[in-house]
């Protein structure tokens, strides 16, 4: 009797052990699911989302109803600015993005256009983006206005390809002609790039008097100064990814560059061998004989501690860290020539917006020097317009990085393979100390 109970208990314990293991593998599912989502989600996913979303249209109804009274007269009363308008502005991101809109840009616009009021709907870290897209899609299906006027999101191109987002051109928004066409094209022309950030090179001027000016210079410098450089694994942050991608680009045939950005063909991955060879060769010269700190922040902290002297960092993060004294003041940022990759944040106009003239007017204002200066100041970011349209003081302040950035980035599937091969071929090589 006692024995069987014991055995039962034991079996139960195995069960719990198994459960623990199963849970640990199961737990990977939710974290991984969003990661795999963007890749699988060009146009096709939005279509089923739209069909499955009629329930969503009823849920946000109160807000659309609230917006309806203000939007209705504006729509009938012809162009913008003739009466008070409320624009429903959807956005997501960190709290600094929220504060930028709510505390700086909206009040500044109020001074220019007292009639325009904003209703800011903010979801932290873009958690609401998919819901908003579903909502706009459902509204379009139902033939009713979605109540979303302007939307800041990374999903603009995806939405635009489903005819949910208005394409923007210099015809409606004249200041768009001051924007780098490549940056505009990166979102398929569906959004106004109002601020940007680029991977730049950070160096400690106390240790490095003559910083490398190009990628080749940098690679030579790393080998000559072992232990003084590192970058984060490409999957853990854009700054390390920018460095890895540009080294890999060395082996990529010019004719295949477009494919690597937009398509997928595993047989072309042999072109990475040159780049991975270079990176592997750098291994022993990397900080701590080959340690790559996790994330953009990990690299900045290593730089802040003085363990390394040079590293690729995001311009806005680097400048913020400098402003908060998390990096010693001797650390300087500079852009290489040719530059590392960067990216912009985009605001778009929803196709069914009832206040398009007011939307365009606001977005046009957003690209004028005053709000752009606010953005550069508050976010430590790149302006949405090209640097030459900024004031002299701003240009001087950011002289070392005030250049346009490259827009090269691997497509999502290529990026996944690149990350795996980086771990396999670069980090995975036997290193003496690890």
């Amino acid at each position: 009797m006692r024995l069987t109970r014991r055995a039962l208990l034991g079996a139960l314990a195995i069960g719990t052990g198994a459960l623990a293991v199963a849970c640990s593998s199961g737990a990977a599912t939710p974290t991984a699911a969003p990661a795999s989502q963007p890749t699988t989600a060009p146009a096709p996913t939005t279509a089923p989302a739209a069909t499955s979303a009629p329930a969503a249209t009823t849920a946000p109804a109160p807000t659309t109803a609230a917006a309806a009274p203000t939007t209705a007269p504006a729509a009938t009363a012809a162009p913008a600015a003739s009466g008070p308008v409320t624009l429903n502005f959807y956005s997501g991101g960190d709290t600094n993005v929220h504060d930028l809109w709510a505390n700086d840009l909206f009040p500044a616009y109020k001074k220019v256009k007292p009639d325009v009021t904003f209703n800011l709907v903010f979801a932290e870290h873009g958690n609401g983006d998919q819901t908003t897209l579903d909502r706009v899609a459902a509204a379009q299906k139902a033939g009713k206005p979605s109540g979303v006027d302007i939307w800041e999101t990374g999903l603009l191109q995806q939405g635009g390809e489903a005819n949910l987002i208005q394409k923007v051109t210099p015809q409606e928004i004249s200041n768009l002609s001051n924007v780098d066409p490549n940056v505009l094209a990166q979102m398929g022309g569906y959004g106004v790039p109002y601020r940007g950030s680029s991977v730049v090179l950070a160096y400690n001027s106390k240790d490095v008097t003559n910083p490398p000016k190009s990628l080749d210079d940098l690679l030579t410098w790393i080998k000559q100064n072992p232990g003084k450089f590192t970058y984060n694994p490409p999957d853990t942050g854009g700054s390390g990814d920018g460095f890895v991608s540009h080294v890999l680009l060395k082996g990529i045939k010019p004719g295949d560059k477009q494919l690597f950005q937009t398509g997928y063909d595993a047989s072309k991955e042999g072109e990475w061998d040159v780049g991975f060879g270079i990176l592997k060769d750098l291994g022993p010269s990397i900080y701590n004989k080959g340690f790559y700190p996790k994330g953009n922040v990990g690299v900045l902290q290593t730089l802040g501690k003085g363990s390394i002297s040079v590293a690729p960092v995001w311009s806005d993060m680097g400048l913020s860290y400098l402003a908060q004294n998390l990096l010693p003041p001797e650390v300087k940022l500079m852009q290489l020539d040719p530059p590392f990759s960067g990216g912009a944040s985009y605001v778009g106009v929803v196709a069914d917006s009832q206040n398009k003239p007011a939307d365009y007017e606001f977005l046009n204002w957003l690209l004028t020097p005053d709000p752009q200066a606010i953005i550069v100041q508050q976010m430590n970011g790149f302006p949405g317009v090209e640097w030459k349209y900024m004031s002299d003081t701003v240009q001087q302040k950011f002289a070392s990085i005030a250049k346009t950035y490259d827009t090269f980035a691997f497509s999502s599937k290529f990026s996944s393979d690149k990350n795996k091969q980086w771990y396999e071929k670069v980090a995975g090589t036997p290193q003496p100390s690890n």
Partner: protein, 311 residues
């Protein structure tokens, strides 16, 4: 052992006149356990079976996460290609080697350290053992993430320990971001449970036996080796198997403290699933982890049932 005898005694008295009620009770018990069983089947068993089939090349069409993975092995009949590919890759074999060396080292260190701690607390009295009694519990109340960051801050190069050592002119090689750092973190998190488990075993040890041995002149080590250790073997095996399973599947400590590569299986699973977009090898690694854990589980069952027979 004495306590257990007492626990079973009343049940034996009740049995003769409660047979039919017992059957009813059993039925009720079965009904009461049904909801968790159904949950277990739906949330764990069914996905586990689906995952096993997926790792054998049978790709479910209706599971988007599985069917959109990169480099899928798809076959109408079960195949072991996914596993063969994994074991053929140096990259994964290194992960496996790291996982096992960390796990065995952690289990051995945990058992030794915990045993010493438990013996110390059991066989000595005073303020210091009392303080130890609360000290070894601390890791239980510190979240692993925070503990890992604390360990990193303390041990990392240019960290607190190094700056202290520099003051006295000593050199330093940091264990952080290396295998030794992972073992350090794992042992730290395993100690409270291990000491509690071994300690409760020692508390149940009849004091008379120890005193009798002392009376006939047995020394400290001879008492430990010939009386305490054999009578306290089961808690030690429980600690060993539980920490084996726990460490092998652990994620937070190796993720934060471990090297970029190789990675422990938990971290590798996550990387295959998310970063590499290859759910199939991720699932195969999960199946392998399950198999290894079951071996530990079998040892546990064998140990506990054996102790039942002895008692």
């Amino acid at each position: 052992m004495v306590r257990e005898g007492r626990r079973y005694a009343p049940a034996q008295q009740l049995r003769p006149f409660a047979f039919s009620e017992g059957a009813k009770e059993a039925a009720l018990g079965l009904v009461l356990t049904l909801p968790p069983m159904i949950m277990l089947v739906l949330l764990v068993v069914v996905p586990a079976v689906e995952a096993l089939l997926f790792s054998l090349g049978l790709v479910p069409k209706d599971n988007v996460v599985f069917s959109t993975g990169l480099h899928l092995v798809s076959s109408p009949t079960p195949t072991l290609k996914v596993y063969r590919d994994l074991f053929a890759s140096h990259f994964f074999v290194d992960d496996l080697v790291l996982t096992f060396s960390v796990t065995f080292a952690t289990v051995a260190l945990t058992v030794v350290i915990s045993y010493v701690l438990a013996l110390y607390v059991r066989f000595s009295s005073g303020t210091l053992p009392e303080i130890m009694r609360s000290l070894y519990l601390i890791p239980m109340f510190v979240p692993v993430v925070i503990a890992s960051y604390a360990l990193i801050t303390f041990y990392v190069d240019h960290g607190l320990l190094q700056s202290l050592l520099v003051q006295v002119g000593l050199g330093y090689g940091s264990p952080i971001y290396a295998q030794s750092g992972v073992i350090l973190g794992e042992v730290w998190t395993q100690i409270p449970f291990a000491v509690l488990m071994i300690g409760s075993g020692l508390d149940g040890l009849p004091q008379e036996l120890v005193e009798a041995a002392q009376d006939v002149g047995a020394g400290f080590f001879s008492i430990i080796w010939r009386i305490v250790f054999p009578l306290n073997l089961v808690p030690v095996l429980i600690v060993a198997t539980f920490s084996f399973i726990g460490v092998m599947g652990s994620f937070t400590v190796p993720y934060l403290i471990g090297p970029n590569a190789p990675q422990m299986l938990g971290v590798a699973m996550n990387a295959y699933f998310g970063t590499y977009q290859q759910p199939q090898p991720a699932v195969a690694i999960a199946v392998l982890t399950f198999v290894f854990a079951s071996v530990a589980g079998a040892i546990y069952v064998w140990a506990t049932s054996r102790s039942g027979r002895v008692a």
